[in-house]
């Protein structure tokens, strides 16, 4: 099992979510984060002075998947989130030791199988 962490543009969230659902991945946790990679800062102005906001708003998704789903997930995210401009984001894949579904106590691959399949 792997834990996939993806940082994407907030505006791309609906498309990424659609793509993931289509790929059979339904378990997603989202946080709002601010990030900086290669994008320049936004220049803002206040009472005669300018200032730069370096960190751009991004959305971070945490997705736990079983091995067969790893590539599908990465493809879904990349194809839906890519714009071609700097600031599209990154995906990190980490090994995952255990997963437990709290409601039923199921573990690992059963815990990762979406409800109703």
């Amino acid at each position: 099992m792997k834990l996939i962490t993806a940082v994407i543009r907030p505006g791309k969230l609906p498309q990424v979510k659609e793509a993931l659902f289509k790929a059979g991945v339904r378990g997603i946790t989202i946080s709002r984060v601010s990030g900086h990679g290669g994008q320049g800062g936004i220049v803002e102005q206040y009472r005669g002075s300018q200032f730069v906001v370096e960190f751009h708003e991004k959305v971070q998704l945490s997705i736990a998947v079983s091995e067969p789903f790893v590539d599908k997930t990465l493809e879904a995210i990349v194809s839906a989130a890519r714009t071609g401009e700097i600031g599209d984001g990154k995906i990190f894949v980490q090994p995952l030791d255990q997963v437990v579904r709290i409601r039923t106590g199921e573990k690992d691959n059963e815990a990762l199988t979406p409800v109703g399949t």
């Binding site: 505006g11 601010s34 936004i42 803002e44 102005q45 906001v53 370096e54 960190f55």
Partner: protein, 424 residues
């Protein structure tokens, strides 16, 4: 000797009586002034009302722009209506130079009319929110308060052809609200919907970001209306006038309450839960509906007038979405459609001629729509009226004004510089 004494006494008494009459007249003048200016300030409070309502019902990334538009249109009105608008509407001198009224100072007269002009102009700002270039809106505000509103207002309040026909619009359901609402319709048709609003063949909800601001804005509008309607009596110094003004307070509030509750219950039935923004629109619809006849539509009739306005506004909001006309705050429905209803209501409940009311309200609506649409079409071909898609997605606060309304964490914005480098 006695005759001289009696004659002197008579002169004294007459003189005192005259002096008394003069000071009573002066008191009335002063009272009219105070009341008119007080009511005008209440109407001016509708400006923050509109700003808050619009800000709440829009995306957070556009709040600064919403406030800029509302601040700017009030400031532009303050100058344009003073310079030329008031003159076009009432035949007063340009720049208010030497203007006098009789029952109160000319300046009070002007100021009261100014806040009405500003109200008509600011109605448009909500309907075109989230996608209009600030420059285009500035220019439009100037044209609206300097020329369109005064020209149309003169038809009735400036002693023009509609007043000669016996058209009744006490506080401006048509003159202010329908004019603003239908100019907004022209603007919306010229600029188009927000990105993503109707894509995929669906009506995609773009919910407002802060219901508290919206609710607060509505309350300021409701309370501000107690300047809008009663103030239009334009006379406050006699018992009869005082009573009339008090009556107008009641009629106004009955319609607001009925409109709000009607929209609330209708939305409850349609959507299974009482809808917050529909209720807000309902209150305002009730207020707009009673505005034309707030002096003559009383009691139960005022309730029905407001109630029907509340029902109409819900239907109208849903209809405009079906027609793919994107009005984020329902301004066209509240002010345009209900402005027409409010005007007709005077013909049904208020004793005016329904035919004349129809002529008047249709004339105002059509003229305002054409004026709004044509101006924005001209602006579209010259300075442009719509921001780029990138700007629309980033948000107008950054794109147009270079600052966010809601600051991200301070640490992200103002990195603390502990040392400025070499040679401190």
């Amino acid at each position: 000797m006695r005759k001289v004494f009696i004659t002197l006494c008579l002169f004294l008494v007459a003189g005192t009586g005259l002096a008394q009459a003069e000071s009573i007249a002066e008191l009335e003048f002063a009272l009219n002034n105070l009341a008119l200016l007080f009511f005008a300030v209440l109407v001016a409070l509708m400006q923050p009302g509109f700003a808050l309502l619009e800000a709440g019902l829009h995306n957070a990334k556009n709040v600064v722009n919403i406030f800029m538009k509302n601040i700017a249109d009030f400031a532009v009105a303050g100058l344009a209506f003073w310079a030329v608008g008031f003159s076009i509407m009432y035949g007063a001198p340009l720049f208010l130079s030497g203007y006098t009224a009789d029952a109160f100072p000319g300046q009070a007269d002007f100021f009261f009319q100014l806040v009405f002009a500003a109200t008509a102009a600011t109605i448009v700002s909500g309907a075109i929110g989230g996608r209009m270039k600030f420059t285009a809106y500035l220019i439009f505000s100037f044209v609206m308060t300097g020329f369109i509103y005064p020209f149309l207002g003169a038809w009735q309040w400036g002693g023009g052809w509609l007043s000669e026909l016996g058209f009744a619009d006490f506080a401006g359901s048509s003159i202010v609200h329908a004019v603003g609402g239908f100019a907004a319709l022209g603007a919306v048709l010229a600029i188009g919907p927000r990105l993503g609003r109707y894509t995929g063949g669906r009506i995609n909800a773009m919910p407002g970001h802060n219901m508290v601001l919206a609710g607060l804005g509505m309350f300021l509008l409701w309370l501000g209306w107690f300047g809008f309607n009663p103030g239009s009596q334009l006379a406050f110094g006699t018992a009869a006038d005082a009573t009339a003004v008090a009556d107008i307070f009641i009629n106004t509030n009955l319609a607001a309450s009925a409109g709000g509750l009607a929209a609330m219950f209708l939305s409850w039935m349609l959507f299974k839960k009482p809808d917050f923004s529909m209720t807000i629109n309902g209150v305002l619809a009730g207020l707009v509906s009673i505005t034309a006849g707030c002096d003559v539509i009383v009691g139960g009739s005022a309730v029905i007038t407001g109630l029907i306005g509340g029902l109409i506004v819900v239907g109208s909001v849903l209809m405009f979405d079906r027609l793919r006309i994107d009005d984020p705050v329902g301004a066209i429905s509240v002010h345009g459609i209900c402005g027409v209803w409010g005007t007709l209501a005077v013909g049904i409940f208020g004793g005016a001629s329904l035919g004349t009311q129809l002529i008047g309200t249709l004339s105002y609506s059509a003229a305002a729509f054409v004026a709004g649409y044509v101006i924005f079409l001209i602006l579209k071909l010259t300075v442009g009226i719509r921001v780029t898609p990138e700007e629309e997605i980033t948000g107008l606060d950054i794109a147009e004004h270079g600052i966010e309304g809601y600051a991200p964490e301070d640490a992200l914005r103002n990195p603390v510089v502990l040392s400025s480098g070499a040679g401190d």
